[in-house]
Amino acid sequence: MDVLVWLIPISLFLGAVGLIGFIYTVKSNQYDDPEGDSQRILSKEWDDHPKP
């Protein structure tokens, strides 16, 4: 059971990383156009290099 001392903090840490990542995506307007984003994947534009 000693392993719990490590595993619980690790699981909380990983969860927190996910949460912070999510907060970052919200703050940078990534949920403003979910419909458009799902369609843009299908477009061939900017397939070779990212939009400048």
Binding site: G15, F22, I23, Y31, D32, D33, Q39, S43
Partner: protein, 724 residues
């Protein structure tokens, strides 16, 4: 100081001015927002973005498919009109939006706030669930206590942050001594926390931390979906309002000054250009023109206007510039008075209680009584406060209103999203439920079934020489009848006659010389005598007189919409303020047998009342001010985006595109959605019938509570997603 700068670095003296120029350019660079009601796929996105980016002067254009808008960052030379034309050329309908209106540019703050709380609740509930699984699978003694304590440390701050919307709503309801859905939710969460903490301090076996978090998470998900649907509808509705022109040209000492409509006063002189809408009620003191009153009265044909004619706000000036003296402004104009009357009248939507509301009315007191009874019963039976409180908390958690809080928003979101994709904007939250019960559809004529664009009739009965003279004259005028005649004749490849001295007489028509003869095209009585009461235009070549008659063009999709509704067994009626003959003609074309012409606004709403008294559920589709009373009286109402502001406000659903054909499918979607909501209520009831007795009997463990709650939430959500 400038000399010092010069001596140190000659280039620096140039730098500030360069910065100034850059700053000025940045100010002059405009952000335009266009509404694009018809886009729907990735091909549309790239076509629109490429067309906009290729337009000279455009720096960047980005399409937002969710809101059906494009944001364009462009130089000062670019106007929205050009962009609208560019898009029209590649087949996309576009409207400019007022960038000053907050809804167009502001990001959705409340939505983000909810999303953040949802994310935190999700994160915490997963972690706590992980710890709880260990407890359920047999962790005991010190390990169990440790896990409970960690759960408590995660849960308390999370609930304090994430459940705030519920606490706030519950508190505001309790302050005015009322019960709403949030009261039992808040009570369940708080009671679960208190009993779980108590259990944990006493090294007890049952803690409901995971249940409290999962409850918060599921309900926040429902709340977020609900918010998103409404936010999209609200911003799109505000966009339409932004289409209204808020400025007028006031004449002071012979000079025209652009003035906000709100700042106009009685007695001001106002210049109204051809094509513009009257900003105020007034009297014409200079100029001759014709007025389009169709939005106010439903009349298709223009009305002549000359000095002394009284005009009302909302009428459109067609041919010549007019000078008005304002007799009523702002809230006192007849337009506003009529709109206010509508606002006061009791509307179909206020009479209706939504399915969710009527369920909540049963639910909220029921749950409180049930859990109070469980508490009192167990306390009297065992004289053990801890057990009694534990069971009361379990009852509250088990009866979690997931079907109400999550399933209804999930269904409405799915249905509204579907309708939005087809170009219909659902403005009111109970509109779908009311739409589902409709068995009678009443249409207005002008501007609703017809596009408000006149088409010349019987051109093949007129000789070619007259047609070519007519084309030459019609080309010289911006009047709608002339323009439609020009288009029709050009399509027939008629060559224009070589006329000279072409002049337009505003309010009358155009006149020119041909081979020494005076030729005129215009109003009957001026251009020449007329046989059929002067409903069209008259062409005179010397003594010879030719008459053109016009009929209103059908709106795209009108025929299909009416046919599909009739095929679905729905009674279709037509009520118009227009003349008998025009209405009869249209009714025959659309095969509508039940029609009424020359109806006053009061007649329209009276007719709808009569239908309702006969037990019918009426959907009204209309666009003019004369329809607003009827739109309000009907059980549910639809208006096109081109409708007058007051009509759009009065209606529950706005058609964003020019096409009427989505109306029948909206009825189908609404029926499917309502069926789904009822099914979800049945699922939730069934689940409560099984789970509540277990909880009251004291057999519910946190594991059973978690399983039951998740199963019911997921079942109802999946059922909502089945909506196709």
């Amino acid at each position: 100081m400038s000399t010092a700068t010069l001596s140190a670095c000659p280039a620096c003296s140039a730098a500030p001015s360069a910065q100034d120029i850059a700053a000025r350019a940045a100010i002059r660079d405009v952000k335009l927002t266009l509404s694009l009601p018809t886009i729907h796929c990735s091909a549309c996105i790239s076509a629109v973005e490429q067309a906009l980016n290729a337009h000279p002067g455009v720096n960047d254009a980005r399409v937002n498919l969710t809101l059906k808008r494009a944001q364009v960052d462009a130089g000062s030379a670019v106007t929205a009109d050009e962009l609208v034309h560019t898009l029209a050329a590649i087949g996309y309908e576009a409207h400019e939006l007022d960038p000053g209106s907050a809804a167009v540019t502001a990001t959705d703050k409340a939505g983000r706030d909810l999303l953040m709380r949802l994310a935190v609740a999700g994160f915490a509930s997963m972690n706590v669930m992980l710890l709880s699984v260990a407890v359920w699978s047999g962790a005991a003694d010190a390990t169990r206590d440790l896990f409970h304590w960690i759960s408590a440390f995660i849960t308390f701050p999370t609930i304090a942050f994430s459940a705030q919307p519920f606490f706030r709503n519950a508190w505001s309801a309790l302050k005015v001594k009322r019960l709403n859905m949030d009261v039992p939710i808040t009570l369940a969460i708080l009671l679960a926390l208190v009993t779980s903490l108590w259990e944990t301090t006493l090294s007890g076996e049952h803690a409901y931390f995971d249940a409290a978090l999962a409850l918060t998470f599921f309900l926040l998900a429902g709340r977020y979906l609900d918010h998103r649907t409404r936010a999209i509808a609200r911003s799109a509705a505000e966009e339409l309002t932004a289409l209204e022109v808020p400025r007028a040209w006031r004449v002071v000492d012979g000079e025209e000054i652009q003035t906000p409509v709100a700042d106009l006063h009685i007695g001001d002189l106002i210049r109204v250009r051809p094509g513009a809408r009257m900003p105020v009620d007034g009297e014409i003191i200079e100029g001759r023109s014709e007025l389009d009153r169709s939005l106010l009265t439903g009349e298709t044909l223009p009305v002549p206007a000359e000095p002394g004619t009284a005009v009302s706000a909302g009428e459109v000036n067609l041919t010549g510039p007019l000078l008005l003296r304002a007799t009523a402004v702002g809230q006192d104009t007849s337009l506003h008075r009529m709109a206010d009357l509508v606002a006061v009248a009791e509307s179909g939507r206020s009479r209706y209680t939504s399915l969710a509301d009527s369920a909540a009315k049963l639910y909220a007191p029921g749950v409180h009584i049930l859990s109070a009874l469980a508490f009192v019963g167990w306390y009297l039976y065992s004289w053990d406060l801890r057990t009694a409180l534990n069971i009361a908390a379990a009852v509250l958690i088990i009866t979690c209103p997931c079907a109400l809080g999550l399933a209804v928003p999930a269904v409405t979101t799915a249905a509204s999203g579907r309708l939005f994709k087809r170009g219909m904007l659902v403005k009111h939250e109970t509109a779908l439920e009311r739409l589902a019960s409709v068995d009678t559809v009443v249409f207005d004529k002008t501007g609703t079934l017809t596009a408000g664009r006149p088409l010349p009739l019987g051109l093949d009965r007129i000789d070619d020489a007259s047609l070519s003279v007519a084309l030459a004259l019609a080309e010289g005028s911006a009047h709608p009848l002339s323009q439609s005649l020009t288009r029709a004749l050009r399509d027939l490849a008629v060559p224009p006659a070589p006329v000279t001295d072409l002049t337009e007489m505003p309010g009358y028509g155009t006149q020119a010389q041909l081979n020494g003869q005076t030729v005129r095209l215009g109003r009957a009585g001026w251009a020449g005598p007329s046989q059929n009461g002067g409903t069209g235009a008259v062409l005179s070549i010397g003594e010879q007189v030719v008459e053109f008659t016009f009929a209103d063009d059908l709106r795209p999709g009108a025929e299909q919409a009416v046919a599909a509704l009739q095929a679905a067994g729905i009674h279709v009626a037509l009520i118009s303020g227009d003349r008998q003959a025009a209405v009869a003609d249209l009714a025959a074309r659309l095969k509508i047998t039940d029609w009424t012409a020359e109806a006053l606004p009061g007649d329209k709403s009276a007719r709808i009342q009569a239908l309702q008294d006969g037990g019918a559920k009426v959907l009204m589709v209309g666009d003019g001010l004369n329809d607003t009373a009827a739109l309000t009286a009907a059980d549910v109402s639809i208006s096109p985006a081109t409708a007058l502001d007051a009509a759009r406000v009065a209606s529950d659903i706005v058609l964003l595109g020019g096409d009427l054909s989505p109306i029948p499918s909206a009825l189908t979607t609404a029926r499917a959605a309502t069926r789904r909501i009822r099914e979800n209520f049945r699922i939730a009831t069934l689940y409560n019938i099984i789970a509540v007795p277990l909880a009251i009997a004291g057999l519910a463990t946190p594991l059973i509570a978690a399983l039951a709650m998740s199963t019911s939430s997921i079942t109802v959500s999946l059922n909502a997603l089945r909506l196709r």
